[in-house]
Symmetry: C2
Subunit: 754 residues, 2 copies
């Protein structure tokens, strides 16, 4: 080929043979095109057709020459941006070629070639926006850490120091007995550091500091989660059950030894047939008048205590929940201290203990099954804060209803529903740290001819991780709030706080599940290797959505609490109040649901705090309102209320979800308000905007159904979420650095070996 | 209390003390109410107030008496449905009481009591709709199994027979070396049964039956998934790489021994720094003219072969992908057979093998890292189907472009993208079977006074599991279709089939991830115990979303393929065609987007096949159209095409998703059309409706944004999804029984020990 008429075909010939876009059919399209050009001479056509004969491909070096020719041509002129520009240039700017433009454009169309895209194939190392992007830190990381840690910084730092010691190196044995032993040793070290008894009265060696106790649970969760759960079982469940359900004589006798781990124990509530519905447990504690003892008994196999932490190997006693029977009468569920093993760790007579065996995770915790065969314990072993047996052998309680007494007892144990979501949050932070730091250095693909690009520069990768980063920050402030509410609770707030804690437990643990799933996938094959720790984080926290209350069941409870609050709110309104409420609602509708607002896509509006808060509050109210109405309609229509609640279960989950999201958003904005440092404030605001908008995006179906937003607005929100992800990317590494997780805890070679 | 005026307060007194709804504040409400009744005498007030004194609760037996009184009253009359009915009845139908109705209703409001709900508390064992529901089978399970198995039934039954033998009892050791050994033994049994070489030419001992090979992969997946992957590495990746990339001399030399497992081998493509972007691998194969050999070399640690199955312990050879270098020129990626170990299993000189160590799952597969230090192999070890080195030491290939040659090579290996999603599907079926059968027997909670209810009767539980049940059936038919397309492929269809297989691989493996997650949570604590097998199913399939192509990357490829098809469709249209297309689109809009259609909530319409197909097709076209337009706009606006593709990555995922959902729905409906048995047809139709509507529900944000549906319709769809779940419940157990998974494979004590 030496005529310009022929060289203009070079790009097509090259593309036909080189890339994997053109198929046999497209070769045919090209040959029809060549054959039917009246401006080509027969011998030119013949020559060109010979070059697209599938049976006789060009040689590899010929192909390479073509490419070089094209590349030189493109390099010679800045102005070549389309395929036709290239053709004109190859023709030595032959004027007649210009007139062929429509023909060539039709050809490109028929071949499905995007002309600008093709030109890139020939450009050397193009500097694209995507490849030029990277990590920049625009705020003081240490300052952000101190905002997160708040007043708990000293205890957090102490725990970090302890778990960074050499003796806390991770156990890698797959032998669960080796692992359990190691976890027990770690617990002993923590006890020696006076971390276990932090919440107990000072009188019994404790720190009387519940806030510190929660901070310890959370910080320990950067390390092994079996350790956290074992720690929680011993010092939280076992110790706190004595403290919350027992009286002075029990504290005196046990608390100090529990706190030093000299007396390892269990919390034996769940039975094989009763997990969520613990009210229905069947283990019995029968009072014996003659010798003032109780007989603890497992009436059948499905009433055995199951999943009991510390039971399989290390527990010497247990707080056992059992139905109290006196003279054949059932006095409801009460709690009793029952010895399981002697000091030599022999299992006592009448006790059968089985090992729950291998689990998906938390294999450093020795969960077991306990059966009691007419085990006799002294009367003083009844934890008698809420009910006693008097000298005459009669039952006495300031709370006459068995139900209410049981729920009061459970209420005192609600702390677990704060410790677990905080532990879950720490695990999510670890997973995100690993995924984001890895993605910042892992390179894969890149612009044609350019070097490969960190995968964190890909929009989809950002989309996968950054909404979780924002949500983790949001939940952090949400859980700080729940903790504060719990610590400073007044009696009349207990129901609300219990519901809030139950809800946040579900919200945080589900978020951890999702965050770790995405983190694993974001790390690809490396994420699958146990050494990189997402394995343990993910499998250990898997059960967090189930224990301390199954999340779905908890969400139903939260929703029922919201409904009952809602009814009271309406009930307590007098006529004037109702008018005001209706007026308020109308105002909301007028100000937020007018066509200007529902279609407002201004950037300032979409990023506006008031818009976010209004949308979340509106959604919460409307969903609650609609669930209440629907329930009433079903029951008024003659449905049994049990059936009616079943019909709306799905809606109830949304009631709880909308409530929790509103609380979390408010707390995030409150935390931002309280932030003094301008750079920290700016980055937190960006995160909060991403949290708000990505939740709205997730719920856009609802907002559109309701008419609160129109499609034009939800589309703009999707774009804004993309934009916020892109904008956050430079600071992403710093934002996980601000979690300040000890290196020795992260320990993943994919982020440490660089 | 003996006057009727006082007994009417009994329900309030009882409720105040018994349940956990009334708080301190509500006690006050009640006492204000009592104090301000002008129809109560002072001593009556005093008496009543003494009964709600928080400091002096009633005794437990008093409370019990109150309850009995109320229960007797309610039992005496069918007509008592509200709290006020009860009060009237307690007053001996005192006429004056009737006039107090507004007062009491206000009180109930203020206390937030839902009157009908309260009455239920006092009813004995109410027979509710929820508790009376249960398992009923309305179709012939064996017939449905035969519809699922189709022509592959004989091979499926053979595999089931083999894996049900005693020697296939699951390995429970946590020692990965014990586990790997067991898996190898299992593979050997399968090889002896001529299952491994099923796809190889008969000439070399094979069955020449690729359809059977896929059915084997899928059926084996009811058993241990390490076995499946080990099997796939040996007979699929290793054996098929020889068959697809090699020539007769290689078949002759290796295939028979590969098929009998006398020659265990590896497929060494992925490198530490190149997973998704395999085109960029850096291992070199340098041709030595003098002795006609290649030197295989790992230039640096990040170019080592990683995650290679069969490498750590058992592989004796590997197909190694490396850049071919001749005289300093790079001829792109080619494949070579490289020995790793001698017959005594000693690692050969120049080879370094490391163990990938513990993984989240698949620990029965010995994944390893391989480094080559100038390893010399003979010229004949080059797999030379697509490129050869001639006698003069020159490179020759019928495919001149290195890129295209490489992708052609990869294209021959696409079978893995059919085997993996089918294996994933089987794992999802196992998980659902365990979760649904357990939920059918697990009872928790129930109506007041009634017995506990199987958790599968709860709407939320149905919502969690049944859409996945429907989707698993849908994907089953989708994957049957892809398999058929692959087996009967024509060359010009290859690109489409490759994209389809890649997409279905992502679609199925993500679905398995989600299905197993939900199955685990649905089984609560029992789901966490390894013995119940969701652990292994979940953790083993976790990597399915990454290997054989990272799902997110595959979805981008699928979307690019759809875009290029879309461009060609437009390109090839002449003016007349375009007019027709526009007319078609307009017709769609007229017929489907008129106010009647967008707001149509008729049950018949919502369940209608045409509505489903139209909605899925419409969505697919619109999303594709909009992505194409957006891309063009970005590129026309001057963005580099690489950057432009980055901007739309999120939309690209939706393009692929909408395409796959449409294909799957069509195949499901096609399968239903071909079903003769009426009962099977009916149940499959119900499942298909649930699949269609739950996908629409999931995408309702999009449909609302687009205006294809209005809120009234998407709300009706949500209700219909609930209804379909409820309607499916009786047949749910039979529907998982129809998967016909061997008992010995399911093996979960929660469903076998009953």
């Amino acid at each position: 080929m030496n005529t310009s008429e022929l060289s203009i075909f070079l790009p097509y010939l090259y593309l036909a043979w080189s890339d994997d876009i053109l198929t046999k059919k497209e070769f045919e399209t090209l040959s029809v095109f060549i054959s039917s050009r009246d401006w080509l001479k027969p011998e030119e056509k013949e020559f060109l057709l010979s070059k697209i004969n599938l049976a006789v491909p060009p040689s590899r070096s010929e192909l390479s020459d073509w490419k070089k020719t094209i590349e030189r041509q493109i390099a010679s002129s800045q102005k070549i941006t389309t395929l036709f520009d290239l053709i004109v240039s190859l023709s030595d700017k032959d004027d007649t070629i210009i007139t062929y433009k429509p023909q060539f454009e039709e050809l490109e169309n028929n071949l499905g070639l995007l002309s600008e895209e093709v030109i890139n194939i020939f450009k050397e190392s193009p500097k694209t926006i995507t490849s030029e992007y990277g990590t920049v830190t625009e705020f003081d990381v240490a300052k952000l850490t101190s905002i997160l840690d708040g007043e708990e910084a000293p205890i957090i730092n102490k725990v970090k120091e302890v778990i960074s010691r050499p003796e806390f190196e991770y156990e890698t044995s797959t032998d669960i007995f080796v692992y359990r032993k190691k976890v027990l040793e770690w617990c002993k070290i923590l006890a020696d550091e006076n971390l276990g008894n932090m919440a107990y009265p000072k009188k019994y060696g404790g720190g009387e500091n519940i806030a510190d106790y929660f901070a310890i649970m959370e910080t320990l969760s950067y390390h092994d989660l079996s350790l956290v759960i074992k720690f929680g079982v011993q010092f939280g469940l076992w110790g706190m059950s004595i403290q919350s359900l027992g009286t002075e004589k029990h504290y005196e006798k046990y608390l100090r030894d529990v706190g030093t781990l000299d007396l390892p124990g269990c919390f034996a509530m769940t039975e094989t047939h009763h997990g969520s519905n613990v009210k229905g447990i069947e283990t019995t504690a029968t009072y014996n008048h003659e010798d003032k003892t109780f007989t603890i008994h497992t009436p059948h196999e499905n009433a055995q205590k199951e999943y009991i932490g510390n039971a399989a190997n290390h527990g010497r006693m247990a707080t056992v929940f059992a139905k109290l029977i006196i003279d054949g009468h059932d006095f409801g569920v009460n709690a009793f201290i029952v010895p399981l093993r002697d000091v030599e760790m022999n299992v006592l007579e009448g006790i059968t203990i089985k090992d729950c065996g291998l689990k998906m995770g938390l294999n450093g915790v020795d969960n077991g099954i306990i059966q009691f065969h007419n085990v006799v314990i002294p009367k003083e072993n009844m934890l008698d804060r809420f009910a006693q047996i008097n000298e005459k052998g009669e039952f006495e309680s300031p709370i006459p209803s068995d139900n209410r007494r049981f729920f009061t007892m459970l209420g005192t144990l609600v702390g677990g529903r704060i410790g677990i979501p905080r532990s879950a949050l720490a695990a999510a932070k670890s997973g995100l740290t690993i995924a984001i730091k890895y993605s910042d250095t892992r390179r894969q693909f890149g612009p044609e001819g350019g070097s490969e690009v960190p995968i964190l520069n890909y929009r989809m990768h950002q989309r996968r991780l950054f909404p979780y980063l924002a949500k983790v920050y949001a939940i952090h402030f949400g859980l700080q709030y729940v903790t504060q509410r719990f610590i400073h609770k007044k009696e009349e707030e207990m129901q609300e706080i219990e519901a809030l804690a139950a809800g946040m437990k579900a919200y945080s643990t589900w978020n951890t599940r999702d965050t770790l799933q995405e983190s694993r996938e974001a790390c690809g094959g490396k994420g699958y290797l146990s050494e990189n720790r997402i394995d343990a984080l993910k499998n250990d926290t898997e059960i967090y959505t189930t224990f301390e209350g199954d999340n779905t069941v908890l969400m139903q409870l939260v929703a029922k609490n919201r409904l009952s609050e809602f009814r009271k709110e309406f009930g307590e309104m007098n006529a004037f109040g109702i008018i005001n409420y209706v007026y308020d609602q109308a105002k909301t509708v007028i100000s937020q649901k007018n066509p200007f607002a529902t279609r407002n896509t201004d950037e300032a509006h979409l990023l506006d705090r008031e818009f976010h808060l209004n949308a979340f509050q509106y959604r919460e109210k409307q969903i609650l309102n609609s669930a209440a109405k629907r329930l009433k309609k079903l029951i008024d229509g003659g449905l049994d209320s049990y059936d009616a609640f079943n019909v709306v279960q799905h809606q109830m989950i949304e009631v709880a979800q909308a409530y929790l999201e509103r609380v979390v958003l408010e707390q995030f904005y409150t935390a931002i308000e309280n932030t003094k440092d301008e750079n920290c404030k700016a980055i937190l605001t960006e995160l909060c905007q991403l949290y708000a908008l990505s939740q709205i995006e997730k719920n856009k179906g609802w907002f559109l159904e309701d008419g609160y937003m129109e499609g034009v607005k939800t589309k703009a929100i999707r774009k804004m979420v993309n934009q916020l992800c892109w904008d956050l990317r430079p600071n992403a590494v710093a934002l996980v650095d601000a979690f300040s997780i000890p290196e020795s805890c992260l320990a993943a070679p994919i982020i440490t070996e660089q």
